[in-house]
């Protein structure tokens, strides 16, 4: 933990921004460069920065869940996204889509199971990185 007023003040501002940005990257990855992995990295960096400024204890309080449970949860979500193929009789991991249309009948929004998988990846990356950060910072 670094005892620096500048870092603490900046982190307060940056934390929310970085988490928002990571979610934006996750969402954008649906059709454009980005995705769960990069988004997860940005989110994990946000929390790591918080741990640097305020200490690991504060980070754990902010995170509520154990990062390792977060990792498991993400993995479960990723597996679950593959199971949506089951009811239609398709093999594991076949994508499922719900397509919303606007008044003219053109496409408005397509929601699919790949997003769910990406959120799973996001959580796995956040969980794995923060577990490492926590272990390394608690060591000293």
């Amino acid at each position: 933990m670094m005892d620096s007023l500048i870092l603490r003040t900046a982190t307060r501002l940056l934390l929310a921004l970085m988490i928002l940005f990571s979610i934006f990257i996750l969402w954008r990855g649906h059709n454009e460069p980005g995705g769960g992995f990069v988004g997860g990295l940005i989110c994990a960096v946000a929390f790591a920065l918080h741990a640097l400024a305020f200490g690991v204890k504060e980070m754990k309080r902010l995170l509520v869940l154990d990062p390792r449970s977060l990792l498991g949860g993400g993995l479960l979500l990723g597996i679950l996204s593959g199971f949506f193929a089951g009811p239609g009789g398709d093999p594991f991991m076949t994508a499922r889509w719900i397509i919303f249309k606007d008044a003219t009948g053109a496409k408005a929004l397509a929601l699919g199971t790949p997003v769910l998988f990406d959120i799973g990846v996001y959580l796995v990356v956040v969980g794995a990185l923060l577990a490492m950060v926590q272990a390394l910072m608690e060591e000293d």
């Binding site: 594991f92 889509w97 719900i98």
Partner: protein, 520 residues
């Protein structure tokens, strides 16, 4: 729905691992999950083998992407049999771990990593894609690094570093070979490769790639001359970990060799299988001699893992249907026996106060007579005494060797058998008959009620399997012959993969895929 059954050997341990990770701080719940997951895997693996025996090669296209573009999972008789036997080992070791793995290792995530290891092992057995095989090897390797160093003693870190170093080289070779093969053929689907590799004009390059694969898989399988990491690493981690490593990990390398050198690289058999034959003989002899040179039970068993890999490579190198059937039979027999021996050595270590060097062993028969009888089964099977499974597997391979009149390799196999017999005699004398140097050895009652059941029950189960295979070898012989037929003539495998009708994914909510396209 068959596609889900084919994918289940990956899905079940993966889900178990994820659930265990969610409950990271509750080891008691993880134990229940690990046992449940292993049991479920065993049931599904049994169903899968039954389905394959009945209906031939089963194929699943992940995400409905058809071969050769998507990732295909293929269950033929060999794959299904290997998954079934791996599932049996997973269950036996999961039970043993209840009595063996200490609280520190459990908090370090033992159950999670163990299940991830099973994902890697089962994935390697079932995949029909060479790059996907690489991925499963990585999954297996990373989890085995963790398992190997979990506990963090000096000896373990030393073994883990050797293991990591050799495996990095093996992985680099594997990746290089995969890249070259893709450059030459433009595909990595194994069935598609089987069709295209014979038409490659540059035969020399194909032979080079084949040798790279021998090196890559040979390092994992610990064959001569890449075996040295194994005796350095295998005796260091927790007993449950040793047992699953000795039983399964090296055999995945053998399986990969068996798959690639019956399906893909069959064009220049004089060259590739000639190399394999030399490797087989050298592996057998060095392993057996090494096991006689050390004076420690667990180290001797580690060397024996190397020796018996040689037998399996011998069957592959001879490559007649009988020899391949012998290799498959040997794989099953050896997985059961090696896991059993390492689990048994763990119990012996506890009874002798934490040391398995010959100087500290002895007096086991007066202290724990029933344990001795249970341990006699895998030891006798290792040496190839007639009623046990080791006898039949060696008989098949020696007969296959005699049939092709390859006297040298038959002689090597028989000499190795004799040396193994010598080792078993020595182990028996040191461990069971000799008087204990520190007075009386402890009996199994000293292990404590629940731990005693957890530690001894898997030994009894695995010994029962060995005895059953020994006295009633017919069913396994039939399955092995079926697997060998499928390997020697892979047309059914190729047809099943490339001929599978692509399934069109069903759309929910709208019938037109155009609606999914992005509007600028």
């Amino acid at each position: 729905m068959i596609a889900w059954l084919v994918a289940s050997p990956i899905l079940v341990p993966l889900t178990t691992a994820a659930l265990c990770a969610v409950f990271w701080n509750r080891p008691s719940l993880q134990r229940v999950l690990s046992l449940t997951g292993s049991t479920l895997l065993l049931i599904l693996a049994g169903l899968l083998l039954a389905r394959v025996m009945e209906g031939g090669v089963q194929v699943a296209q992940m995400g409905s992407w058809a071969a050769p573009f998507g990732i295909i999972l293929v269950a033929d008789t060999l794959s299904a049999l290997m998954i079934l036997i791996a599932a049996v080992m997973a269950l036996a070791v999961a039970v043993y771990a209840l009595g063996d793995v200490d609280a520190v290792r459990e908090r370090g995530g033992y159950h999670i990593i163990f299940q991830v290891l099973m994902v890697g092992v089962c994935g390697s057995f079932i995949t029909g894609d060479l790059f996907n095989l690489y991925v499963w090897f990585e999954v297996m390797l990373i989890s085995s690094f963790v398992l190997l160093s979990l506990g963090g003693t000096k000896e373990q870190i030393d073994g883990a570093i050797k293991y990591a170093a050799i495996n990095l080289i093996a992985t680099a070779c594997f990746l290089l070979a995969v890249a070259l093969l893709y450059g030459v053929t433009g595909t990595l689907n194994m069935a598609d490769l089987a069709v295209r590799v014979p038409h490659v004009a540059n035969k020399g390059l194909v032979s080079t790639i084949a040798v790279l694969f021998i090196i890559a898989f040979g390092m994992k399988a610990a064959v001569f001359p890449f075996f040295f990491w194994l005796p350095a690493a295998y005796h260091t981690p927790a007993v449950a970990v040793q047992a699953i490593f000795a039983g399964l990990l090296t055999k995945v390398g053998v399986y990969a060799l068996l798959r690639c050198f019956t399906l893909i690289f069959t064009g220049d058999m004089g060259w590739t299988h000639g190399i394999l034959l030399w490797i087989a003989g050298a592996t057998m002899l060095t392993g057996a001699l090494g096991s006689l040179a050390v004076r420690d039970l667990r180290r001797a068993l580690s060397w024996q893992v190397v020796a018996h890999i040689g037998y399996m490579i011998m069957g592959l190198a001879i490559a007649t249907p009988l020899a391949i059937a012998g290799t498959v039979f040997y794989l099953v027999h050896d997985i059961v026996v090696k896991t059993n021996l390492f689990l048994g050595a763990g119990v012996v270590r506890r009874l002798s106060g934490g040391d398995t060097s010959y100087a500290k062993l002895g007096g086991l028969f007066t202290a724990a007579p029933i344990l001795c009888i249970v341990l006699f089964v895998p030891l006798a099977s290792l040496a190839g005494f007639p009623p046990f499974s080791g006898f039949w597997s060696k008989l098949l391979l020696v007969r296959a060797g005699l049939a092709v009149e390859n006297w040298a390799i038959v002689a090597a196999a028989l000499v190795t058998g004799l040396l193994t017999f010598w080792l078993v005699g020595r182990l028996w004398a040191e461990m069971v008959w000799k008087a204990n140097p520190d007075g009386d050895a402890l009996g199994t009652t000293s292990l404590g009620g629940a731990a005693r059941v957890a530690l001894v029950a898997p030994l009894v189960l695995l010994s029962a399997i060995t005895v059953t295979i020994g006295f009633y070898a017919e069913p396994l012989m039939r399955v092995s012959a079926m697997a060998a037929d499928g390997l020697v003539d892979p047309q059914a495998y190729i047809d099943a993969v490339l001929g599978a009708v692509p399934t069109t994914p069903t759309l929910v909510g709208a019938a037109d895929t155009a609606a999914m396209e992005v509007q600028p």
